[in-house]
């Protein structure tokens, strides 16, 4: 007898939903440096059949690397099964005009403002402004408690040349799920 907890018919709907969003690759689960390497490698393999300019592929790949490293550094590792924060997520979708790189991970509420302010700042600048901000950030950089010089969002914005979209969804009073979408025009 099939367990009542999991019907199989959702799978086709799930697959169609991904097709609707034009998702070419999606991974959900744990992230670590090793898994980041595997995801990058899988994307490279997936890309091998896409007929796109090499420069665009390189941009996408570099943005992915930054975004995935951000997950590794900042994701809140939920050990309490009663909190349904959801696994970390990486998705790449491909439309006629653009690639969309979507990442998601649980974070602590206390860092929302830091992330939001950084993204709002980079979104308000043009390429020249981003270049100057990058130089300034490098000169003033201090290695944060989790490593890195906080240049990730600036770098992502410069490479994509599009605004970064963000979404913070409350899981409970202390945890939010942070989703980020970066667009690369083909």
């Amino acid at each position: 007898m099939e367990p009542a907890t999991q019907n199989i018919s959702f799978l086709y709907e799930f697959y169609r939903l991904m097709k609707q969003h034009q998702v070419i690759m999606m991974y959900e689960g744990e992230f670590s440096q090793e898994i980041t390497k595997s995801v990058l490698s899988m994307t490279e393999n997936s890309f091998s059949t896409e007929k796109v300019d090499e420069a665009i592929k390189k941009k996408v790949y570099n943005i992915m690397m930054e975004a995935l490293q951000n997950i590794c550094k900042h994701e809140f590792k939920n050990t309490d099964e009663s909190i349904a924060s959801g696994e970390s997520l990486f998705m790449i979708s491909s439309t006629d005009k653009e690639y969309q790189i979507i990442t998601g991970n649980a974070i602590e509420k206390k860092i929302i403002d830091t992330i939001k302010n950084k993204i709002d700042l980079v979104n308000s600048l043009d390429q020249e402004g981003l270049k100057n901000l990058y130089k300034e950030a490098r000169l003033n950089s201090t290695i944060s408690a989790v490593g890195g010089a906080g240049l990730g969002f600036i770098d992502i914005a410069r490479k994509s040349a599009n605004k970064i979209s963000y979404h913070f969804n409350p899981v409970n009073e202390n945890i939010y799920y942070f989703t980020q979408m970066v667009t690369v025009t083909k």
Partner: protein, 188 residues
Amino acid sequence: MSEAIFSDAAICSYVDFKQKTNKHKFIFSYRGKLSHAIVKNLLAMAEKKIDSFNEEASVKKKIFGVMVNCLQTICADDKAEEAGSSSIFLISKNADGFTIFTGRYLEKTVVDKLQEIIESINQLSRESLSDLYKEKLKELETLNEKFNIDETMLSLIDIAKKTNQKIVYLVEPSSKDDFFFSIKVQIK
């Protein structure tokens, strides 16, 4: 609880999509092309994930064995020069244990054959499955086709033997000549 904070509506559809998947408690999910190189990566990643759970070694071995069967034969498209349509591979964990779902598009003739195979496998005892596995292994010929039905049959028999559970499957007609074929394997 507080409201969501977001920059623009474009991202919201992806957020909704993710929320729909949360209720299934997937611990690992992948949708995309499944070339040989990608399957190798996925197996390594999923193995690490399964290893992180406090399960008996025999359970972990079972799960990994089912995964290998699903990814290397049922889902794989490594015989094509270019990987064909995307497949889907999911693992969830709940009170019943682990569940592995796979799905992909296949031609009607292949789907019909698979249905027949699964229906007959589900009738057999463990001992009969072992005998059938040995018999089919001897008969196995490597075919130069995109989807090898004989290898898939062996994989399905092996899955049934390892899990001692019936294989649940579903066929959904698509708008083309292909059908979406999915299976669910429960590992207690």
